[in-house]
């Protein structure tokens, strides 16, 4: 008899996680704690998210087919994820046919190397940049800096963040945590040759930035951009923006390098019809964004004469492998979910530690970069950074069920984190509650605990881990009698009998009869 040792059953091979700015250095509750104490931050955020929420509701409410647009967006994105490999190859073919060059980057490290090499090949040591989440995610600016190349952000808010040596805290409004006085101070300090008496009137601040940026647009031969959409059918890339700085970067330099996450591909040109309605209305609350740029490869004598498309995986294939979690890849980065999120509004974007904050960040970041439970990874706290209130799901233009994804990621987390004190407590709770006799006994024990309560019948201090609860909330002591013991008592039975006999009480002299309020329009 012979046998072959096949080795231990191993987990199936999986795609590697992403690298770059996808992990904070502290868990969410700790990071949020600091931010929550920043009164200025909370005021700035509250004000900004409230106004953008109102704008969004106005322009989404006016469209009679908004819900059907959302369904269409969701369907197209789901189709895209199901056909991702073939669509990407089609995109590559089309871009190449039109004179562009396509590069494939497995992770942030590879993408950074590719971009750096391409920039160096042009002989320039400066690049201008269009606001881009993908390059933020891989830390491109920092990498270029170590290679002797200076990157200039040209989006106003990104510029503020860059000049302040700060980090973006919002997908769309990276400097949402700053107010105009802070911006004025940053400009006075950081922009060479700026008027030392610059005030904080928004138009003056914009003018100062414009004067600074114009010169960069005119003199820099290379631009780096991201992409909102890449059309497989035609090889067309698209960037939507508000300020026109993107249009400058996409048209003026000789060389254009676009870094695009692979999930940004769309099957057909006509799909833009859906997304160019969904995106501006959801993100800035505008019917149409001021600038939509589209380009297909290279056009001789018009615009950049050299075009490179870097397709970035960086953990996206790993996310795609998750049957449930992959829905997060449908995100079009509109930031509506951030603006409606009560947790984001209080804690701010930095608390998430990732390029992607807010509800979408809480589900996307752990999937792109992993949550390594054993190492106390901050990413494993992100799925818990939500009260599951569901506002994000309602706001999402492509109907990503973020609350369900959060619950799913929490489950994956508990499945992989071994036996913890919390898991033991959960097991005990379930063991008690699955046996009605034990449950009743536990209720009695809890009822006996009322003697420990204060004179007002409440507990004002609880032991850890419940102390963070009792810091600002009283807890009622359990009443003498549970519902079930009342129901089993003579009093309970008599009360219900009496209620049945009494029926619906007749209205008083001012009230009306009938099953409905007469004033109610039915």
């Amino acid at each position: 008899m012979s046998s072959t040792f096949l080795g231990m059953p191993a987990a199936p091979p999986r795609s590697p996680y992403g690298t770059g700015n996808l992990r904070g250095d502290r868990k969410f509750p700790k990071a949020a704690s600091g931010e929550l104490r920043n009164e200025q931050l909370r005021r700035n955020l509250g004000k900004a998210t409230r106004s953008i929420r109102a704008k969004r509701l106005a322009v989404t409410g006016e469209l009679p087919d908004w819900e059907r647009l959302r369904d269409a967006g969701s369907a197209i994105k789901t189709e895209t994820m199901n056909r991702l490999p073939e669509l990407l190859e089609q995109l590559e073919r089309k871009v190449t046919e039109h004179g562009g060059t396509v590069h494939w980057a497995r992770d942030g490290v590879e993408a950074n190397e590719i971009v750096t090499r391409l920039v160096k090949e042009t002989g320039s040591d400066e690049v201008i940049k269009v606001k881009s989440m993908a390059t933020q995610e891989i830390g491109l600016n920092e990498h270029l800096d170590t290679q002797g190349v200076t990157a200039y952000e040209t989006d106003l808010a990104e510029l503020i963040v860059q000049l302040a040596h700060d980090k973006p805290s919002h997908i769309l409004v990276p400097a949402i945590h700053r107010n105009r006085d802070e911006v004025r101070d940053i400009f006075r300090r950081e922009i060479p040759g700026v008027d030392p008496d610059l005030d904080s009137v928004p138009a003056h601040l914009a003018a100062a930035a414009r004067a600074y940026l114009r010169e960069k647009f005119m003199t820099t031969p290379v631009a780096v951009s991201g992409a909102n959409f890449g059309i497989a059918e035609t090889g067309t890339l698209s960037v939507v923006e508000s300020e026109g700085n993107g249009r400058m970067c996409l048209t003026m330099p000789r060389t254009l390098i676009t870094v695009m996450g692979i999930e940004k591909v769309l099957p057909r040109y006509r799909d833009l019809e859906v997304f160019l309605q969904l995106l501006p209305r959801s993100s800035t609350g505008e019917r149409m964004n001021p600038y939509t740029s589209m380009w297909t490869g290279v056009t001789p004598g018009d615009g950049p004469q050299e075009f490179h498309l870097v397709l970035l995986d960086n953990g996206r294939t790993a996310a795609l492998a998750d049957r449930i979690g992959r829905e997060a890849l449908n995100c079009i980065r509109c930031s509506a979910c951030l603006n409606v999120c009560p947790v984001y509004e209080r804690a701010g974007g930095h608390a998430y530690g990732s390029t992607y904050p807010g509800p979408i960040g809480a589900v996307l970041t752990p999937q792109l970069a992993g949550m390594h439970e054993a190492k106390g990874d901050p990413n494993s706290s992100l799925p818990y950074a939500s009260s599951l209130c569901g506002a994000c799901f309602d706001a999402c233009p492509v109907k990503i069920d973020i609350p369900s994804l959060l619950v799913e990621l929490r489950h994956q987390h508990t499945e992989r984190s071994g036996v913890t004190a919390e898991k033991l407590a959960m097991r005990t709770a379930a063991a008690v509650m699955k046996r009605p006799k034990l449950f009743t006994a536990a209720q009695k024990a809890a009822g006996a605990g009322r003697v420990l309560a204060g004179r007002d019948g409440t507990f004002s201090h609880l032991p850890p881990p419940f102390d963070s609860w009792s810091d600002s909330r009283d807890t009622p002591a359990p009443p003498k009698q549970t519902f079930r013991s009342w129901l089993a008592s003579a009093e309970g039975a008599a009360t219900l009998r009496a209620a049945a006999e009494e029926g619906v009480p007749a209205p008083g002299p001012t009230g009306a009869a009938g099953p409905h309020d007469p004033e109610e329009q039915r």
């Binding site: 379930a430 909330r473 009480p505 009230g511």
Partner: protein, 255 residues
């Protein structure tokens, strides 16, 4: 109608008055209220905290207790527990249950209602003979609002209450910050959310802040008690069960 009453573990243990009121209300409306005696907990806290294996027996217990076909509807004074039964039990059953559990869960899910939905959608009644001469503001809890989509049903019930002075809560649809274990795991963020909710509640000058979920009310009420606010919390069922002959006395403890 033969109605199976689910008390919820929290209602049964900590807020029995809300459950009593639910039972009384349904009895007054002429229905036969039954209480399957072995019921305990729907397992929502487990699932929402990431545990799906552990609550399998709870999900099974719920399906067994209320599976009796003579029970025509399962009613509970909680939007979040109804949400759990309707949206989460099948996730647990699909993943860790057997065929029997899956079919049991599907059968019970189809007849499960939160109280206000049951009154307005199934019984087609908004005027339940209630009398409550106090100033009241209503907080729509997140799971009622966005998971069950109860919409304005609770408000329609409240508007039909005799003597009530119903005042609108500003930014009503904002979460109070409870979120189950969220309030413990992210206590500070939760508190920050609670502060804003309390500011809006006390700003209405209401005597009572009501809602369809004892858990959120425990959170809001716990905060209001701590700051010694003049507003107390009271479950929707308790307002609807209050009548001219048996009015709710606001001087007693909030529960």
């Amino acid at each position: 109608m033969r109605i199976g009453l689910f008390a919820t573990c929290l209602g049964d243990t900590l807020f029995p008055e809300a459950v009593k009121s639910t039972a009384v209300l349904l009895a007054r409306l002429g229905h036969d209220v039954v209480f399957p005696p072995e019921q305990t907990c729907c397992g929502q806290m487990h699932v929402n905290t990431g545990y799906q294996r552990e609550p399998v027996p709870l999900v099974r217990g719920f399906a067994e207790q209320f599976g009796d076909p003579s029970i025509e509807a399962v009613v509970m004074p909680s939007g979040s527990c109804a949400g759990s039964v309707r949206h989460q039990h099948e996730i647990v059953a699909e993943r860790y249950g057997d065929a029997a559990l899956r079919s049991g869960v599907a059968a019970v899910k189809a007849k499960t209602y939160e109280l206000s939905e049951f009154l307005v959608d199934v019984l087609d009644v908004t005027r339940v003979g209630a009398y409550f001469p106090h100033r009241v503001t209503y907080h729509p809890t997140c799971h009622s609002l966005r998971m069950l989509r109860v919409g304005d049903k609770p408000l329609r019930l409240l508007r039909a209450v005799e003597g009530i002075d119903l005042v609108e809560l500003p930014e009503a649809d904002a979460c109070c910050g409870f979120g189950g274990t969220f309030a413990v795991k992210n206590g500070e963020t939760s508190s920050a959310m609670l502060q804003d909710k309390m500011r809006h509640v006390t700003g209405t000058g209401a005597d009572v802040c009501t809602a369809g979920d004892a858990s959120c009310l425990m959170h809001i009420g716990g905060g209001l008690s701590r700051i010694k606010a003049g507003t107390r919390t009271l479950h929707l069922a308790q307002i609807l069960a209050s009548t001219r002959t048996a009015p709710y006395a606001l001087t007693e403890a909030a529960r």
